[in-house]
Symmetry: C2
Subunit: 396 residues, 2 copies
Amino acid sequence: MNYTFANRMDRLKGSAVRELMALTARPEVISFAGGMPAPELFPIEGVKAAACAVLDEMGQKAMQYAPTEGYIPLREHIVKRMGERLHINTDIDHVLVTSGSQQGLDFAARVFLNPGDVILVESPSYVGALNAFNACEPTYVEVPTDDYGMIPEELERILETTENVKLIYVIPDFQNPSGKTWSMKRREHFMELVNKYEIPVLEDNPYGDLRFEGEYLPSLKSMDTKDLVIFLGTLSKVFCPGLRIGWVCAPAPVLAKFNFVKQGADLQVSSFDQMLAAKFMDMYDLNEHVEKIKAVYRVRRDLMLKTMEETFPEGVTWTVPEGGLFTWVTLPEGVDAGEIAPKLLEQNVAYVPGAAFYPYPGKENHFRMNYSNATEENLVIGVKRIGAVLTDILSK
Amino acid sequence: MNYTFANRMDRLKGSAVRELMALTARPEVISFAGGMPAPELFPIEGVKAAACAVLDEMGQKAMQYAPTEGYIPLREHIVKRMGERLHINTDIDHVLVTSGSQQGLDFAARVFLNPGDVILVESPSYVGALNAFNACEPTYVEVPTDDYGMIPEELERILETTENVKLIYVIPDFQNPSGKTWSMKRREHFMELVNKYEIPVLEDNPYGDLRFEGEYLPSLKSMDTKDLVIFLGTLSKVFCPGLRIGWVCAPAPVLAKFNFVKQGADLQVSSFDQMLAAKFMDMYDLNEHVEKIKAVYRVRRDLMLKTMEETFPEGVTWTVPEGGLFTWVTLPEGVDAGEIAPKLLEQNVAYVPGAAFYPYPGKENHFRMNYSNATEENLVIGVKRIGAVLTDILSK
């Protein structure tokens, strides 16, 4: 059979990260490729207690269909957390529970983008977001970024000269893949510009809670005076990604569209998983758990950066993230991180080559390193292996 | 703010069934509107035992990210069930786990349909499927159906004279909403025609296991010799819909496309829910549970049909389903079931007006009745209330 697929399928291929997951599933591989939390920190006993409580107290409800919007007590917890941690003043009517924040990315594209419409993204940007957006066949314009975020002058130049800009996608806190965080000044300047041009903003904040040092900065959503910011949150990095619980917080007319898409897409998020997460937050202090995660990840970040410092050759640089899960490594111009990856796999170690984080080819001298998943021992072994291979290659 | 949404959003509105769910959530309402299983049959104790076993034995894995394809032991159970119950001979490499079969409907549209492409559907067809397909802006052609399924002569006429037919969507077993089941002869004739015209078929089979009487008939997928049939299955009607577990079984090149869409859409189905469902099927005999469900639904179907017979006025007819969850009621020409619905809600009883099950307006004299969800007592009370209102209206 020769199948005729829809045009959008020409733009879709397997995600680089997801394909690496298959390769790196072998237990002997030390993988810095995924964005996976440390499994030993998952509060399994607490999850079990919450699961049993949900099934004992309201088992029938947990196994039944439920409204698309999401479980009310979970949305109440989400609203409370957004208020406390992010200074976002909202209510449950502005929150839709999604299957991870990945689903929020997919829905945002479907709500706003016709084929050919322009979406602005940081450069680099999250590969999974590009993958989701691709299904709506957009045109990307990469906004140049430096250590403090999108460069306002560049953004304004683009907004002034580009037609059909329908959405700006940003990760201001501990960006994936760069690990960088936008400064306060840049946030303010950014909001001035989007207010002036009235372009909807998709603010993705999966890592914001995981700050190891420095001050928490206000989310763009909390600074939004014109109902322009659509905020994506998730429990994946502060609780358990296997439960697939994320959310969209958006102005009412926008959230209504997300809800319609959700109805057609999969009706609702698992009733059981939603109730389990809400019950866990009733029974335990999630912030206490987040503090534990932060303490461990901080040690791992320090260890990774120190080992890179000790073993990576001259000419290789990397970012120093104040939180989150990733550092972004830059090789000398002309060196292709994608060509090195197979050599590393032979040594049972993996990163994600950076090219996947750009919508268009041409920037191959980067790779992303995750420090949350590997144990400290493996982390040092793995980084040393990469250091040895890089030293070997760059000395030639 | 005036938002500019993508064109596809013009086609999306709230699902009639989902909106009724909000109205009918009041405990005093007896609702025949949803397609909800009987909650008192959910095997809560078994679910709890399985949940505890998963968390005790492999809690970290259950809370972590997992491959997009789905949990292998669950896919093995699915393959085994498809073999035993549906005579589908396949393997786990041809199965992708989805968030309910609703997600399979959404993905099928995204994989195959450009705006304006033609999809053939039964007339009437499942409202949730139309809702999912709408996001890809197709043109519908309704294939006339009678008591035995799509009418082959009509189908052939349409296939011969219609350009850009990309997909045929069918529910051959206990169709939603009609409750009808295709005869063996019609299945054979249908497969001859799709083989001749080589059009991919989306076979949706959420209710096939729930046959109360008569012979199980082979699925179209089991009769497929040209890799044309994409099969959608689900645990929602035989286990627990709150867990959102469905699957796609498709030829390899098609399944690869579904996988790419899944990666961008939401990465994966809940690891915990998948492992829980697989563990439940390890620990218990799901077929035994299905037998219990069938016994109860059969009684309820009989009771609904009998009460309709006793209380519905002359000129009203309905289908006699051999299984599944629904019967389809036809009012005299010119009577609008949608106009009667608010009067019924005043009496605390609800059905789904039939217009939602057609892609285009013009057929308002039907409604769908679900008999799986209400208790026997409520079922009789509710049907009598509808009978009284119909008698009142039709006598005027």
